[in-house]
């Protein structure tokens, strides 16, 4: 942009002016004159270049047999070898299934949950009660996954974990169940923990959107005899639909990047690997723990490409319905 306008300014001035005006400055001169301004942004841009753009260039090692200590293009090129290896490896099915199932569950349950909470909170007229519920439900959002993972492990422990104590007290089980070592419970635990962490915080935007609805609409509906439930269904929900769809696009775009910290802290037991291994944790394990850098980069790149595809599709759908992100 800057260069374009510079070129235009380099051309000779037309010979018409009667009132002499100051000679336009060249690009370099202008740049030097605003050097104080440039110094505000250039160091930050340099950091962005180093820590965001160099790694993008670094994905080239997905097509090489990268040797540690070489530059990102200094190792022998091997084409699509690592991708082919991943698609044909026995890990592929497990990792893809877990990634898709966990992401979909997080989306299908984790996305509507805050909306539901916001709708419920909106029906609460006792402000103190509402404030207390909000304060409590926001809290887990601010805790690290390490702490939450520790709390969950403590709740579910076989030696006097609260859940086992409760189930034994209710005579539902005879022996304590070791929930965090049995694959059949893992997805439930993971999704429940995620909802617990994010439901309150996620409801904030929806509450704000609901607060923007014109109260007269409710009065009118109420006079026409609409029940509270009908008002939620016919007024509140349609009013916050634009917000819901924007957040839905974002959620779909991030479907595959639904986080790995929760899995790292909850799936400590190797017995859970069959149900807990997703692309991100797989990349960490084969790349960082097993030093297979090129292979792990290829797997990560595959995920990034699918993610961009998902975001594009989601946005295309949204644009057709009139709620574009771009």
């Amino acid at each position: 942009m800057a260069r374009l306008s510079t070129d235009r300014e380099m051309q000779p001035e037309p010979v018409m002016p009667q009132v002499p005006y100051p000679r336009r400055k060249s690009g370099l001169e202008r740049f030097i004159r605003q050097i104080d301004l440039q110094l505000m942004v250039l160091p930050a841009l340099a950091l962005i270049f180093v820590f965001s753009y160099i790694p993008m260039y670094g994905v080239l090692i997905a097509f090489q047999d990268y040797k540690i200590g070489h530059s990102f293009t200094g190792s022998p090129w091997v084409g699509w070898k690592h991708f082919a290896y991943f698609f044909n490896s026995p890990d592929f099915y497990t990792v893809m299934r877990n990634t898709i199932v966990i992401s979909l569950l997080k989306f299908l349950i984790g996305f509507p949950a805050p909306i539901l909470l916001a709708l419920m909170l909106n029906e609460v007229r006792k402000m103190v009660f509402k404030r207390v519920v909000q304060t409590i439900t926001y809290l887990p959002h601010f805790m690290s996954w390490v702490i939450l993972g520790g709390l969950v492990a403590s709740m579910l422990a076989t030696d006097n974990g609260s859940l086992n104590m409760l189930l034994e007290r209710l005579n539902l089980i005879q022996e304590p169940i070791n929930f965090l070592s049995l694959p059949e419970y893992f997805w439930t635990i993971l999704i429940t923990t995620n909802v617990w962490k994010e439901i309150g915080f996620g409801s904030i935007v929806y509450l704000a959107a609901i607060a923007g609805v014109d109260p007269h609409t409710y009065e009118a509906a109420s006079i026409d005899g609409a029940s509270r439930f009908k008002q939620i269904y016919l007024i509140t929900l349609p009013s916050i639909m634009p917000v819901i769809s924007i957040f839905m696009i974002l959620a779909i775009g991030n479907l595959l990047s639904a986080g790995f910290e929760d899995i790292l802290v909850l799936a400590v037991n190797p017995a859970l690997r069959d149900v807990s291994d997703v692309i991100d944790t797989y990349v960490i394990r084969v790349g960082i723990n097993n030093y297979r850098y090129s292979y792990a980069t290829a797997v990560g790149l595959f995920k990034a490409v699918v993610s961009v595809g998902l975001l594009t599709i989601a946005n295309y759908v949204a644009r057709r319905s009139g709620n574009s992100l771009w």
Binding site: L37, V50, V133, V146, V308
Partner: protein, 297 residues
């Protein structure tokens, strides 16, 4: 107020549901506090729910005597303070520069920022880059890569653009340069946005544990969250294999009634204290911050 029986049933259901839901959200925290204040051997007998049965501060004494945990706590405080102050300052300067129309290359710079929000090189190339930069086992790996947040820059920029133009112009007439205007006029007027973004950044720094787990192998540089992760990991496995690692055993030897469970609960509480301390401010500013962020969408 509630005009039909159906409405009353619905509202009653909502109150009951929200009460039960809030209690179960809070319960794990209360249970952990109770266990951390209870003698470990007594906890092992079972039955601890909301309050300690045989009260003791022993678990906390062990935590505070443990050099490894205390060094982790200090590293966490350091990285939170240094990381937050430097990131907010650097991002604010960057954002102010980006508000200026006369800034040459502004559109290109902005595009360069936005692009990083959609694409990233991924974990492994970043990992190798940090390794090549010699930031392995360096405190700066906590600070420098996360110095500039594009999202925070956009929020800052939006806020700066909303400030009255006249103030900056009059500063300029009085002979203030861009830097002087930023530090003497703009930043002092930006209290709310600085508070909000600082809280976001600080909580993020305090809770972050993954970076240390892949870039840091020196124990004295690990933040408390990462140490806690290691302790808890060995703890969970220990329930299945009846094996404790050397560190956990060393902790246990120091006090007779402390068990790995009571100790990890106390450590978790210590690691949570700073969050609880800022939580009242969180309530005030975070909610606003979330809305600032989402309105920009």
């Amino acid at each position: 107020m509630y005009n039909s029986r159906g409405d009353r049933v619905m509202v009653a259901f909502i109150y009951v549901f929200l009460t039960v839901f809030s209690l179960s959200t809070l319960y794990p925290f209360l249970n952990a506090i109770a266990i951390s204040l209870n003698e470990g051997l007594d906890t092992a007998k079972g039955g601890i729910t909301l309050w300690p049965r045989s009260f003791t501060l022993e678990n906390y004494e062990v935590v505070f005597q443990d050099e490894r945990l205390m060094s982790g706590f200090i590293i966490s405080v350091l990285r939170t303070v240094v990381g937050t102050v430097s990131a907010i300052l650097a991002t604010a300067i960057f954002a102010y520069g980006m508000t200026k129309r006369e800034l040459m290359g502004r559109k290109f710079y902005m595009l360069m920022c936005i692009f990083t929000m959609y694409f990233s090189g991924g974990l492994i190339p970043t990992f190798l880059l940090i390794r090549n930069l010699g930031m392995f086992n360096s405190f700066w790996v906590y600070i420098i890569p996360s110095l500039i947040g594009v999202w925070n820059m956009i929020i800052f920029r939006t806020f700066f653009q909303g400030l009255p133009q006249g103030l900056e112009e009059s500063a300029k007439i009085d002979g203030c340069g861009n830097w002087g205007t930023l530090f003497r006029i703009v930043l002092p007027l930006s209290g709310p946005v600085i508070a909000t973004l600082s809280l976001f950044t600080a909580v993020g720094h305090w809770n972050e544990w993954f970076i240390a787990s892949i870039y840091i192998s020196k124990e004295e540089l690990l933040p408390i969250q990462t140490i806690l992760k290691q302790i808890l990991a060995s703890n969970i496995v220990s329930e299945q294999t009846a094996n404790l690692d050397a560190a956990a055993q060393a902790h246990m030897a120091q006090a007779k009634t402390v068990t790995s469970k009571s100790l990890s609960m106390a450590t978790m509480m210590v690691a949570t204290i700073p969050i609880v301390l800022v939580y009242p401010f969180v309530q005030k500013y975070f909610v606003k911050g979330v809305l600032v962020g989402s309105l920009k969408e």
